[in-house]
Symmetry: C2
Subunit: 501 residues, 2 copies
């Protein structure tokens, strides 16, 4: 290893340690911190974040990136060092473009906006949030100008979450999917009585739900020697190293789906992180390629596996053993149908597989219109309600269940929503390929054999860490960039069968 | 606030945030971290520690300390800023005296020695640890030389844990106590059958023990809005801010004392930390004055309160309600006697109130003999056994229960043990003063009224944070420096009554 590389890696390792420490503090904050701890925790997290940023954006890092790029110019694109430099160059350029004063202003405004949002949502009061949203929007417009873009302003922001992805590609993809989804949803609505979901809406003992979620995680290969599951209000997955990847989850006593599918969803993220190779630890290459690729993994295990008939053939006996009395009248087929009920609903995070992406598209459109000043903040609530009506055929009774439902905009996360759907589409594309290469997946799932699929994902996705973009991975694995054909076919086949269309 | 002071406080706040983040990581490591997390956690903690140390020992901090000392020269000793500068000057001088290479060498040797110690203790193998102990000792001798001392080498090390305390004062105090304790222990041994402790040696349901420990913590005023209790192998108290002070504890199903008195002990530390004023947060003055003063608080609540007859008058009904069946044959007096059984034993951490300090004195002597090359490491096991026999009248059957029982020496903690006893003596000195000023404490405890005592400690101790040394506090509160008269009188009165001597 050259002296420059050694020096560079030592700095990057420090930065990584600081960010990982911050993750531990955030995890504790959600899972265990007593109420009194909030204020000090905010400054601890802010300090770690600032020190990491200072260390990463130093002139020395810029100089080393230049030196090392020159030193490694003859090495191939996929070489570990070349890839690390590529990923960090991308991040460094962005990080130094944002003036420190702007970063501080954004952090402060976002803190205030998040508090205002929480109060406004609780009070169902749009006007309590309106001026904050306008301010955050103006800041994000400035941020996009600092970062730069050639086509759409949105490109600058989207790139932070989905490197290399362009607004034009997202628009094209979303248009194609929308054309198929809207009529599919309408058809299913017309036959909604064909699927009964009372089985998931009865009372299930919280402790038993928790134990069952552990069983599901073990079944798909989540390693509890290198992780654990804790209760939080809003589930997430967090990584302290590839050997310490924590799942968090919640339990709703009267809604079965939440805990089990929460576990499978976060478990999908966690398998990806646990599968990140040791050699990438404390470099920029550890972890997942992008938010979209990460979401492809969570959705794959939650939906393509967990909501499959084959999974329920395997899992139903465990379910029945766990909830003896409550499950007496149920069977695998009834549960399979119940967990796949499609129902246009107001809240994105509660949406089913079919309607979910429509919620995302609506937000993607709104973000673009707002950023490009084609929609004024004051007009947003009315626009929202109209869009909900045209996409899903329902209208929010109030702003709390409408335009105020998501925390993202108050936190400055513009360009983040599309990654949820890009990941969903990619999950189907990957799964179709896995079916081609792995033989009868359904037969394997029905036997509780998930290891071939996990190993395949290890080989195709996990082992690369952050080296490649979503489209690069899609090309490598399936021979084409991200497409939605597989996703549409998956939904149509599955739900035509379930609903007898 | 002067510009210099503002700059200085910003640096100190960063350093504090880094150390607090490190505390969160350590807490998680003990309480929740899965086995796989250990390696990455070690480097995260090391990085936070190194960055904090770098930031604190910068030349700029030295220059600011000089400038600010000059600026504040006319302010009184107890002024907040003057006190902060005094405490930090003390730490800065020590920190910069140790060469970075030496600090790294010590950290590495200590890591290896701790692992070797754990294996040696498990294997009951003195020779597996001997060379590590010799190496650590040599390093600590070098450390003492770097730090400097005028009288005894031990002074340099002791000062890290008990600022301002000298080996001579500890020797004098320990000699005085030993003269009284050794015959007292002999007398009690001769009448050991007068106290029956079977009541604490039966099975108590772990979950109920845990719930009862919560009740005890609530009773003494521990604020669960600003803290929580979690299970760990070895109990400790840790502070993330004065509004987030965590207690950890363990449960032994067949030994009642461990969980309840563990909670009261760590709760005593926690009351101190929760009582640290807001104005000291993120400065060097937050928290406790020294290890000795801290231990005075834990011992006070564990023993002078928790092992008092009055406490059991208040607490026994809760105990009985919790353990209906198991407690049927017990009453408050039986429990009071059972938790106060005196029994010379091999293991320091399991020792009773009377014999505990003899274990500490033995270690204090050994440390001095070793540091001053008056005892060779190879001779230590034989020396240990002889000392145990002369102090406590018992001889360890093996090294695991003898010289290898404590982790401290492998970690480089030389000069640490005396603070356990200094705190114990100070707790009695404080308690005697509290009795003078607060009227009938026993009557208050019997009613579950602990708030007057806690408020008194808030006023006398907690509110000062780290401003004063143990002897300064002792003088302020009781009109004399640390003394052992109160402690000896307390033990003699209490145990003469219990044992009918």
């Amino acid at each position: 290893m050259s002296e420059h590389l050694e020096e560079f890696k030592a700095i990057i390792a420090d930065v990584d340690d600081l960010y990982k420490a911050q993750s531990v503090l955030n995890w504790d904050q959600q899972a265990y911190m007593p109420p009194g701890g909030a204020q000090a925790r905010a400054s601890q997290v802010a300090t770690l974040s600032r020190l990491a940023h200072e260390r990463f954006t130093s002139e020395r890092v810029g100089a080393l990136l230049d030196l090392l790029s020159a030193e490694t110019r003859d090495l191939p694109y996929e070489d570990d060092t070349v890839s690390m430099l590529r990923v960090l160059q991308r991040e460094y350029v962005k990080a130094v473009r944002l003036p420190a004063a702007f970063v501080a202003e954004l952090a402060e405004a976002s803190g205030l906006a998040t508090t205002a949002w929480a109060q406004a949502r609780a009070a169902n009061d749009w006007h309590g949030f309106e001026s904050h949203l306008a301010h955050m929007l103006e800041l994000k417009q400035r941020e996009a100008e600092y970062l730069g873009y050639s086509d759409r302003m949105y490109d600058a922001l989207l790139d932070e979450y989905e490197p290399g992805m362009k607004t034009a590609q997202v628009t094209e993809i979303f248009d194609a999917v929308r054309r198929e989804l809207v009529p599919l949803v309408q058809t299913i609505r017309a036959h909604s009585d064909r699927v009964e979901d009372a089985a998931v809406l009865r009372h299930y003992d919280p402790d038993k739900q928790w134990a069952l979620a552990h069983e599901a995680l073990r079944a798909i290969g989540y390693d509890f020697e290198r992780g654990r599951m804790d209760r939080v209000p809003h589930p997430f997955c967090t990584t302290f190293s590839n050997h310490d990847v924590r799942v968090t989850n919640r339990i709703l006593p009267d809604f079965f789906n939440s805990c089990l599918f929460g576990a499978l969803h976060e478990g999908g993220h966690a398998l990806y992180e646990q599968g990140s190779p040791d050699k990438f630890e404390r470099t920029a290459l550890a972890g997942g390629a992008s938010l979209g690729v990460h979401e492809s993994q969570s959705r794959l295990w939650e939906n393509l596996v967990g909501r499959s008939r084959a999974f329920w053939e395997f899992f139903f006996p465990k379910f029945k053993r766990t909830f003896r009395k409550n499950a007496a009248d149920l069977d695998a087929e009834k549960m399979y149908r119940a967990v796949n009920k499609v129902q246009p609903s107001l809240i994105r995070v509660e949406a089913d597989e079919v309607t979910y992406s429509l919620h995302v598209m609506l937000r993607f459109e709104a973000e673009n219109l707002l950023l490009e000043n084609k929609l004024r903040v004051a007009e947003l609530p009315a626009w929202w309600d109209e869009a909900m009506s045209s996409y899903l055929g329902i209208t929010p009774p109030d702003v709390a269940q409408g335009v105020l439902q998501d925390v993202h905009w108050s936190m400055g996360l513009y360009g983040y929503f599309p990654t949820y759907s890009l990941g969903t589409f990619f999950s189907a594309q990957l799964f179709e390929q896995a079916r081609k290469e792995l033989g009868n997946l359904d037969a394997q799932f029905a036997q509780g054999e998930f290891e071939p699929l996990r190993q395949w994902l290890q080989q195709k996705i996990y082992q690369h860490g952050r080296k490649f973009t979503l489209n690069e991975l899609a090309n490598q694995i399936t021979g084409e960039p991200l497409q939605t054909r597989s996703y549409i076919a998956y939904l149509k086949n599955k739900y035509a069968e379930i609903y007898g269309l």
